[in-house]
Symmetry: D2
Subunit: 349 residues, 4 copies
Amino acid sequence: MRYASDNAGPIHPAVMEAMLAANHGYAMPYGADDLTVQTVAAIREVFEAPEAAVFLLGTGTAANALALASLCQPWQTIYCTELAHIHEDECGAPEFFAGGAKLSLVPSPQALMSAQDLRVVIAAQAQGSVHGVQRGPVSITQGSERGTAYSLDQLGALCDVARSFDLPVHLDGARFANALVAQNCAPAEMSWKLGVDALSFGGTKNGLMGVEAVVFFDPSKAWEFELRRKRAGHLISKQRYFAAQMLAYLKDDLWLDMAAKANAACAALAKGLEATGQVELSHAPVINTLFARWPRHLHQRLHAAGAAYYLWEGALEGQDPSEMLTARMVCDWSASQSDREAFLALFES
Amino acid sequence: MRYASDNAGPIHPAVMEAMLAANHGYAMPYGADDLTVQTVAAIREVFEAPEAAVFLLGTGTAANALALASLCQPWQTIYCTELAHIHEDECGAPEFFAGGAKLSLVPSPQALMSAQDLRVVIAAQAQGSVHGVQRGPVSITQGSERGTAYSLDQLGALCDVARSFDLPVHLDGARFANALVAQNCAPAEMSWKLGVDALSFGGTKNGLMGVEAVVFFDPSKAWEFELRRKRAGHLISKQRYFAAQMLAYLKDDLWLDMAAKANAACAALAKGLEATGQVELSHAPVINTLFARWPRHLHQRLHAAGAAYYLWEGALEGQDPSEMLTARMVCDWSASQSDREAFLALFES
Amino acid sequence: MRYASDNAGPIHPAVMEAMLAANHGYAMPYGADDLTVQTVAAIREVFEAPEAAVFLLGTGTAANALALASLCQPWQTIYCTELAHIHEDECGAPEFFAGGAKLSLVPSPQALMSAQDLRVVIAAQAQGSVHGVQRGPVSITQGSERGTAYSLDQLGALCDVARSFDLPVHLDGARFANALVAQNCAPAEMSWKLGVDALSFGGTKNGLMGVEAVVFFDPSKAWEFELRRKRAGHLISKQRYFAAQMLAYLKDDLWLDMAAKANAACAALAKGLEATGQVELSHAPVINTLFARWPRHLHQRLHAAGAAYYLWEGALEGQDPSEMLTARMVCDWSASQSDREAFLALFES
Amino acid sequence: MRYASDNAGPIHPAVMEAMLAANHGYAMPYGADDLTVQTVAAIREVFEAPEAAVFLLGTGTAANALALASLCQPWQTIYCTELAHIHEDECGAPEFFAGGAKLSLVPSPQALMSAQDLRVVIAAQAQGSVHGVQRGPVSITQGSERGTAYSLDQLGALCDVARSFDLPVHLDGARFANALVAQNCAPAEMSWKLGVDALSFGGTKNGLMGVEAVVFFDPSKAWEFELRRKRAGHLISKQRYFAAQMLAYLKDDLWLDMAAKANAACAALAKGLEATGQVELSHAPVINTLFARWPRHLHQRLHAAGAAYYLWEGALEGQDPSEMLTARMVCDWSASQSDREAFLALFES
């Protein structure tokens, strides 16, 4: 009954073992260690991008905000959805790191923007005048904050719109693995082959202790990014422990296995919820996040029984016991069948 | 022969075990977990400061820059030494996080400023006019970047100067443990009892994977700091692993043991170097860092033999084999006698 | 036929004479001159606010952005309409000066937001969590960017909403005089008596060479503002010439006379346009700005004849001669009847 | 007896007349007027730089800070003297506009740095590491804040040092005219021919109401600068009045005449002071600013008689009547012989 966040579960044992294995002897700090070198090579190989610039960081907010700052001038605006993590959940980090840049919001049912809406919003920002801000990078979240994901066609169409305005594309891939598994394609196919310039490649929500990579497929921004990272306090001294995690993550497709488990757990949860007949799902399950609605009295029962999830809309206490309230449920790699069964059983009692 | 940095050694096994022990089950993210609560309590107890606001972060640069930003307005100047880490080694992070604040440098032989020099530099910044920047916080590094440390009297005198100008005091305690052991006093005696307002309490250079705490002895800045930390991408989601490290660090005085070992190793190294008759020490050993000079030909021999330390002044290659070049050597908790003996033996051959 | 902007007309002769009169002898710089002292007193008197802090600046963008920066923390969001000058026409100046703050847009037909919409948008920004930005000041434009103006009741209701959330209120009064004449009330009644905390009091669009005042009705932010102004390069050295303009502006109600003329010219223009039978007005005239639509072929004729106004929506060249395109027309104090008649005559030919 | 500042005198009548002449009819705002076009052409001609990008601003602080921001990345450091206006008198504006950049101070007796000292300071900032800030632009003040000026050889040598490190050069020319007259050369010879990239070309301290130009000899930064200027609130709407001033300034060498008068007045003042036998001059007069020392009792007498100058070091009140205190005296174009005689007479009484 643990659906609060994919940040709330444990680290995968293989990842923990890799850190343990890295913990002997001397290693030069700040990324000048062997494991970091191996990690860069491994990510390049996974993405079929031998020239890519790869950097490790400790949080997704740092990865997003620093990547965007490298793609954006302070007098530009970043295009994203109304529900984007960079807009809603980073306390203004992109604006801060980009020196006071703006975010322009694209309408986005289910947290997905359409190529047409993106085009309209970009076009509406008149250019050639100093009075308004200038057009800047497009930031796309894949898989999305609402548990949906773009098809490759949809994602490619967004990149094409950006390209048609000569704007760079950033992909917030905090749940890149979950989306990749859902779309069943190669990492390169869901990134640079479509026109993505910079990727926040998440690990923290998928079984790591706290490691994200920023990947610039065009390495020309590498040195600027290194300086931005250091200046932001995000250059890790004992980087071998970050690298060890990422290497374990990529080894033998552990990352894909964990994402597949999380997605499957979410699909099973959705199916189970639907079967209760008391629940309205927001959408068919795509990745590992689900939004659903059920009556207040049911929420109260679940809550009393210790179920952990975020009440997204509405308050647990209220007059109308039948009012529908929205829950967010997130599954991680460690979600168990027994846990799910216990959760679903509460709906029946 | 591993003296490059106290960031280069391994994590203490007890710390690693604590992370392992924390890695089961579910824990609410972003510091809402039990271990974080325990960590805050433990630090308050160690510092005899039951009201202190305590925050965990991943790097010393982040700890320093965010603490200073909370004490400093953008139009103020921060007082520090010419050798301060915040001036020399953070790529402008304090200036960035404080919105473009200035650093005013106080002369500092051996990286220690005198109360008198501090007073002169502060007084020289005329006030009451909008043309110059305004006086801001005093940032003191204890133990210092040159391996020295302030006595309690010296530190208290600096705090008194700050107070006489009504300025807050920040202590960069990346090597707080090493200085504490050297001064043989209680944590409170080397911090708030002297007038320190905010402390960067280091763990990373003393056996942790990468954990620092920022401690505000007056908690009025707590909420501002939390927002600054989040906005900087330094709010860790899986904070239980940070907290587990810090708890293990404080348990049974492990932190003091490690610092004592590092200091002792440095003292023994200094003694051994002196005994070679070929070396000029910069100062008597105080904490775990040593600067010393010996001839180029000796550096070349050591280098060829695989000794790891930073050449601080001068180049390994050069015409004059007898030219004196400066080395920086840092010992961490894992420095061994055999390693030292091997290093010193190279001086004799 | 000069309707491009109220920035495009000449300075009122009385204002120019005042500058001339100020141009003799010696005057201490940076506001330490007699005329500046008189100006501060005059503005305090006009606003019945003897304690107000008053500052002169050269542009409306500077006035708005610096006033907002003084009311807003970097991690907060500023509430304004989708059409606000601070959002559309200042190239991100508020975001820049406020250290990367956000703007949250309130729906606003005719550039006016309703108290209810404002309340909804503020309430939607959940508080108490560090993940989202925090609620910040409400910025209201009076008279608006679309030529409309709030009634005192409407303005008071907006201030009440801000107060109910404990948020400060900024009034962008680039066209404060025009709105004041339209609402026929005292300056205090349209500002601090309703709950306005800081006012950008415009002069540039109403007959001055380039002078705006920022008025803080609560002077507690005065020193901070002075430092921000200096640091922004907006502290004028020869301030007597700014003060001379503002004194002439306020003397014998010149500012109200000029605004009344501009408003009347706009009303007459609207009436004349309506009488042509070829024009759709956006709204009944309130201040000195008008938006209206007429067919492309008419725009082309006017353009060829040298009429000066901005084509707000649509392109002068296009296939369909009967397509309705939107024009913005602004009148200043110098708008003449003969000019208007010449302009309107073009519609008949 | 008016020596407080070259900001304290009146505007030259010819400049005021030019503004008056500009004050008729309609002119497109924001620099799209004829006078601005003529001004750009005139400055290009004066500087023999037909491709230069030229921008008008209202203050020297804005000119300096925005020019430097366009030449400097946030993680770089700007080289200047310890007495530079950008360091001492702009309340951190360069740091603010450059996103938190640092200033590195070069020793500078009499406010002049030597090529050798500049080289040493630049070289000391190690490169290729992310830990320290990176080398950035060199900013030189000509004529200096202490009334001295570089010879063309000295200035060229500084530019050569900058070039040897591949760094751009900014010239703070708030008193460019005074230095030019002193060096008796062409504007191009004291700027781009030596290697200056961007010039703050002052007018305010030399008889204008408040107009400075920023000149980029390489126009590649033009669009960025325009956006920075707008975003800083420094794009003037009624720019015709700025342009009119600058055109009058350049017409018939008025600017050089005014500077020559100011310099001559300062030389005569120095000679007169020397003749009193009671005064120690800081240096032989070069431009229009003089620092000199005389006893406290004399300061008191001058002060009581209404003499206006800044007491730079020491306090008017004090125990020792014979203590030497330092005065700063600045002459502008309007300094008169009778005023000087009255001032000098006070030394004799």
